[in-house]
Symmetry: C2
């Protein structure tokens, strides 16, 4: 059987991500994979056929792709690598939150099983990465993203940020400048009418933020200790 190359890992990871957009485990269109990998559609078709030959995906022409159990296992391994590296880079090297993703993108392919073990242990066998995304366990179990979207928070209720979406690097960068990162204490002070901006206290500062952007931030009213990943640097 053909080898699991970096490219194969990238494909499996993207397929995994895209099949989790809605609530259910969906078939992923070839075109979406192409877009997300910044690769042409024909390239995806070719690779996907190869992946099927390796037993990593199910694929029917003109009908999208689905991971097999074996494919999902590899995908989750890569996601685990990625998120462990992210946490490491952020907490130990002080890499800013909005840059850990790109760096981890390359490191995720370069982590032997032994190293994974050591890395995880050095981090205290963490359950969530610095964005608040759950880190799959070695056996492939995946926790949930905690908290609720910030715009849904009750007014004047102290809460802690549990998750910031890393999907859009530019938006993330801005949220970081506002201090809206996992572990930060927030209070929703005011909701302007007609979908207008939210006024939020973040730590000791106060800011106004569009609800659409705020929706990328999740918060929880639970005690801070049990909720966010430990952080050492804000940026």
């Amino acid at each position: 059987m053909a080898a699991v190359t970096h490219a194969v890992e990238d494909y499996l990871k993207v397929i995994w991500k895209l099949s989790h957009r809605g609530r259910e485990d969906e078939r992923v269109p070839v075109g979406d994979i192409a877009t997300h990998l910044r690769v042409s559609a024909p390239s995806v078709t070719g690779m996907v056929q190869k992946l099927q030959g390796m037993g990593l995906v199910q694929y029917a022409r003109y009908d999208g792709v689905r991971l097999s159990a074996k494919g999902r296992k590899i995908a989750l391994e890569i996601v685990r690598h990625h998120r462990l590296w992210e946490l490491y880079l952020h907490t130990r090297l002080g890499v800013p939150l909005d840059r850990v993703d790109v760096e981890a993108e390359r490191l995720e392919h370069v982590l032997s099983d032994d190293m994974e073990e050591l890395l995880s242990r050095a981090l205290g066998d963490p359950t969530h990465d610095p964005h608040g995304d759950p880190i799959p366990t070695k056996s492939g179990a995946l926790g949930a993203v905690r908290g609720e979207p910030l715009p849904g928070l009750s007014l004047a209720t102290p809460a802690v940020v549990t998750h910031v979406s890393d999907r859009h690097a530019d938006k993330l960068r801005y949220l970081v400048t506002l201090g809206l990162v996992p572990g930060a204490r927030v209070v929703l002070l005011q909701r302007a009418p007609f979908g207008g901006p939210l006024t939020v206290r973040v730590g000791r500062k106060r800011c106004a933020i569009d609800p659409e952007l705020a929706a990328l931030v999740r918060v929880s009213e639970e005690s801070p200790a049990a909720t966010g990943p430990k952080r050492r640097r804000a940026r």
Copy 2:
């Protein structure tokens, strides 16, 4: 101009290493490169011609290869990456000394400039890796390997290990079990005649070691603080 791929980096690094075996900057035979990269000779010829086209080496048929200034710069960058990662893996993750090399082999190709900066800083801008090999500076300056070969040490003189060759993984592994790693305190107690084994005290233990093997270990009589890289775990 063609891109500096992983393979290109590997070639440059090996050429750099092989050109430093003797005291002078030598031309490196194609065959040696092939052996060290575990690749066929024709593959090396092809690649070396390509490298010349990129201005990274000088190359004349049947007469070996030499790095250009540009090539040496890249090679030293890779060596710097490699040794920074080695130190990091060893001191921060507890990767055993005899395994840091293989892991760093893959990580060295995956380190952006920003990350290199942060990694180096997190390590206290170190000058030597856990084997005692010097880490090139960002500008390409390379320190020396410190100390003298253990067999040359005066009898009964306390010394500190400054360097252990990582060229042979199996021998290194054995030296590690003896405790002959940078930072260890040693005393040469006895030299058997006719090239027989040396008796050495390593820390509180005592061992007999073949001089040829002992030659892979370098020691210095200087004070320990100024000499070995800091270590946290022996294996």
